[in-house]
Symmetry: C2
Subunit: 436 residues, 2 copies
Amino acid sequence: MSSGVLEEYSRDQGPVTQPAMPAVVVLAESVEEVQHVMRCAHLFKVAVVARGTGTSLSGGAHAVSGCIVLSLERMNRILEVRPQDELAIVEPGVINADLNLAVAPHGLMYAPDPASHTISTLGGNVATNAGGLRCAKYGVTRDSVLALDVVLADGTLIHTGHTTFKGVAGYDLTALFVGSEGTLGIVVGITVRLKYLPIQTRTLAAFFPDFPAAAAGVLAIGAARVQPAILELLDGNTLGVLDAAFQSNLAARGGALLLIQTDGFGAEAESAVVRKVLTQAGATVEAEDGSEAAMLLDLRRNARGDGVDDDFRVGEDVAVPRSQLVHYAGELERMAAEHGVRLRLVAHAGDGNLHPTFWVNRDEGQAGMHRLQAALDESVRVALGLGGTITGEHGVGQYKLRWLAWEQSAEVLSLQRRVKEAFDPLGILNPGKAIT
Amino acid sequence: MSSGVLEEYSRDQGPVTQPAMPAVVVLAESVEEVQHVMRCAHLFKVAVVARGTGTSLSGGAHAVSGCIVLSLERMNRILEVRPQDELAIVEPGVINADLNLAVAPHGLMYAPDPASHTISTLGGNVATNAGGLRCAKYGVTRDSVLALDVVLADGTLIHTGHTTFKGVAGYDLTALFVGSEGTLGIVVGITVRLKYLPIQTRTLAAFFPDFPAAAAGVLAIGAARVQPAILELLDGNTLGVLDAAFQSNLAARGGALLLIQTDGFGAEAESAVVRKVLTQAGATVEAEDGSEAAMLLDLRRNARGDGVDDDFRVGEDVAVPRSQLVHYAGELERMAAEHGVRLRLVAHAGDGNLHPTFWVNRDEGQAGMHRLQAALDESVRVALGLGGTITGEHGVGQYKLRWLAWEQSAEVLSLQRRVKEAFDPLGILNPGKAIT
């Protein structure tokens, strides 16, 4: 196996803090091959790091030294779509967007839509309990996963869950596997619930003078009892980045932008209410046919930003209770100023999940990196102080492990280790990730 | 402690197969009291059966011999409602409907609504991952629980989850506790997500010639991409029971009734589509203002039937994939005829969850009971053969244990036992329930 291949599969898109090379990369093509890999790994006590297309932003798929990297990207068949049952059964390597293309002709959709939906796999989405733009209305990955086929640490294949929407027989092992980042078993089959493809959508772009005003707009929409399908908040610095990339003039039109999409039979009525309450809240709401708003949403949805993170730039994934959005955004600006780091901010505002990106200039070297780390640490501490979480949807992976004990008590950390031991007594499944 | 109290707390509303008396009943009033009980139980290795108001239909709260019954019904305070964060924090003894009364003035609702909502507790709802009428649109209990305070088997108090809508730090222990029927820990605090109280609702009653036609109507609504908030299916025998109880003439108007409620900003438009597709499907859709439909829905929602189950009458809780509703209902009728038992059937048709009730006359004695058991067993086997589950929302409890191994493999059963051991090594939490 060439060192180029090993290098390619040694990391995902998250920051690398402990560079490590795998001993071997396996591109599994069947459940049996995954079972074979796990039986061998179990016999020889070798660590196995499962991955899809490696789009994790937290280092959940980083190799550990001498491990087997088990790629599931070739297991990418949509095995079954059952329109009347409103479910689909897929292999873990299916790309999120591909599933949506396959079910759309049936008037159905797979709702969870991480920004990476065109490049990330369902298996990876399951591993991290991926969120996305539509979560506040349609739920996260866990809410759409009905059943799983999982290869356990010793190669045993099990099936959990049910092919019905509801089912409460035994413990909810399915929900436990979702979000466990490959540390409890290797997911080789996924049964997902589909939802109705909205009969119509309406998209609005609302420009506000500043971020606090836009965040207040989010609460005004809630007070009007409208549940948008999408509610994305972009700060002024993000608008500047978009302007530079796409020759737009967004920053000149406001200090913050709220993108709202309503959908379903009530889309028109909800859009009218949103327009009214946001105008009252001081926004300039795009008055045309919404085509620019839809284009902006596409940019937000498909943009992974202007490159991947590294030592000098780190994107965060904290979430805070919705009422704290305004306060927390102010705190982020204060921190950025105090630590002398740059900041830009986007948020899935409907569920209080923020993606601040902090960065320093590369030529600032170690000093800049230290300031960046200090800002990151403080941003996490403050979010937790407001009742938030260190990760809303990206997962703990390797990168956020240092913050996990800030959020969870010693007793919870210990209980998680006991669960891990029940599933993987040898500790060979993705060691050093997700839990301490 | 009087034997009357012990007797009262020795069972829930499910069938009793192994009558047993507790040694003591504790009516806990605080987290500290629950911790004290668990510390003592742990020290002396005494079984603890937690319960709320005892409305389980599966014997999940039945006493085991010599146990401590730990009632949480007095821990019934709504600790906090945070309208802007769209969440509430409650003690486990809060009645489901009381929470809804408390949050309605804020334009919010707690969505999961088991038929027992006026008498069952949130703690019990969490223990069984309770469903209800609105699940297909709004999800089950698990989907609304954000965080839990749990007293572990040794009295340790832990907090799991998050007060944000999304959060993926560590394993989803919250989801694991939900539906674990008091076998992994005692839930003493619940943080739930609230949803917007629908701005309007529309209710329709559609009479069909027979059950298969009504079940086909369910699929027609789906094909029109309408997600009703409620979609309840009642067979002719159930209509007869309602007629007898309420001097109505439902059975004369059709062989099966579909009750549909749409809600939100699209309620009116969705209602019009439903009316159209159901009329095309051969239904007589109530043409008035929907007041009778709303009344019927109230009956369905609040009725626990005409008494509790016993050896001669058992209500089931299977679920099948939606496309199998018609076929399965036909199978149920065949079984009832073959085994010489009576049958009536209601279904949460939106999610394929059926509640057939089988019964025989009391004066048939043992022979009748055996025929009843044979019919129940076959109904479960057939549901499983169609890809269904033995329990959609009531829980396994004690009563459905004999069917669990029909649904789950030996490997899954074993994995569940290992999880149980990680949480409760002494096996004192609700032994003999939920898992084998």
